[in-house]
């Protein structure tokens, strides 16, 4: 995975108020993750935490039954 070039940050994560700063990493195949890296002299050294969002293979949705098609219709026809 190639990471976006970072600025001259010495270390990460750094605190922004009470929040952590995560970097959104996306590679050419679409794989994505949120990363808290350790960066020194503008160079990625290690990841403190990685949250994987997508593997980038082009079928993001694993369809479960509740989002499958609705097709069980039975209009009632009654002889008079």
């Amino acid at each position: 995975m190639e990471y976006a070039r970072l600025g001259p940050i010495e270390t990460a994560p750094r605190l922004v108020g009470d929040s952590m700063l995560y970097y959104l990493m996306v590679d050419q195949s679409g794989a994505a993750e949120l990363t808290r890296p350790v960066v020194s002299g503008g160079t990625f050294l290690a990841a403190v935490e990685r949250i994987y969002l997508s593997s980038g293979d082009d079928d993001p949705a694993v369809l479960s039954e509740d989002i499958g098609p609705v097709d069980n219709f039975d209009p009632q026809v009654v002889r008079k």
């Binding site: 082009d58 098609p69 609705v70 097709d71 026809v77």
Partner: protein, 356 residues
Amino acid sequence: MFNPRRLSLARKRRRLNAKVLAEKAGLAVDTISRLENGGNVPDDTTITKLIQVLNFPKQFFFDQDPQEIDTGAVSFRSFSKMSARERDAAVSAGSLGLQLSTWIEERFSLPAPKLLDLSYETDPEIAAHSVRQSWSIGERPIGNLMGLLETKGLRIFSLSENTATVNAFSFWRDDKPFVFLNNFKTAESSIFDAAHELGHLVMHKHGDPKETRSAEREANGFASAFLMPAKDVRAVIPRRITIDTILHHKKRWRVSAMAMAYRLHSLRLLSDWQYKSICIELGKRGYRAGEPGGIDRETSVVWRKVLTQLWSEKITKNDIADSLHLPLDELEGLIWNLAGLDQRPTKLGGGPRAIK
């Protein structure tokens, strides 16, 4: 008593103008005009000549006035491309369809209509979402649109017009929604046409739905949003869209490749350039003229149940046609490709039977 309106109806169904009918029947053009205006009553010889050309049962011309359809209240697709003769033939088929519908509903209870009146709504996306919400189908794809529409009370008939210029039409009559579909087209096209007509029925119930560009745009937008809900499309479609993506995923929403490409473009998932390129490629692969490897045609559950019940009572389509004083081909045309029954008895044994 001879009914002049029925002569006009039969002539229009046979796509004949008065001049051609007169020539074929060996009568004067004035005679036809006077008969249709009610100025003259035909003698037996004239009636025989007319029946020979029109091929309608004699009794048809002596029934009460047909249930005529106000062409101003009918929504046509591709209206501007239709000739007057095609339009008259289609509207006349609608009139015969009403006659058949009355016959059926005298004998069967069908689902009551449950359609929203969204005449005030001008945004097709919102209208489609509202209808889905009222029918409790959320954002899920519809695996059987015809079954859904029939469950919600739409009366669906076939248009036996083998012409590309008549896609479908719909109208309200006695608070019941009627849809006539051209079943000569691909299954995907018929599904889109049905959703398009649903759009007219809910969005243009009180207006004059004669083809105007905005009304057609609204109905197309409704059909697109109704069949392919934005959230579902965005959830399922991958980021990188190729022509193979479209050909694979169109099956989920049971739409044509072209309709899906259009939807992706309207949702800004395809750029103008990508959309144009994909349309060109789809055209090269034959997706403009047809739908290679398309889905099976949807069939009507209501018509299957009705015909199956009637057949169990030894009532055939011939019997229905006789009861309505219609030629069999006209009855067949109204339900052509709808019932999905392969084995169709045309005439069962035994003598005449009463139809209750």
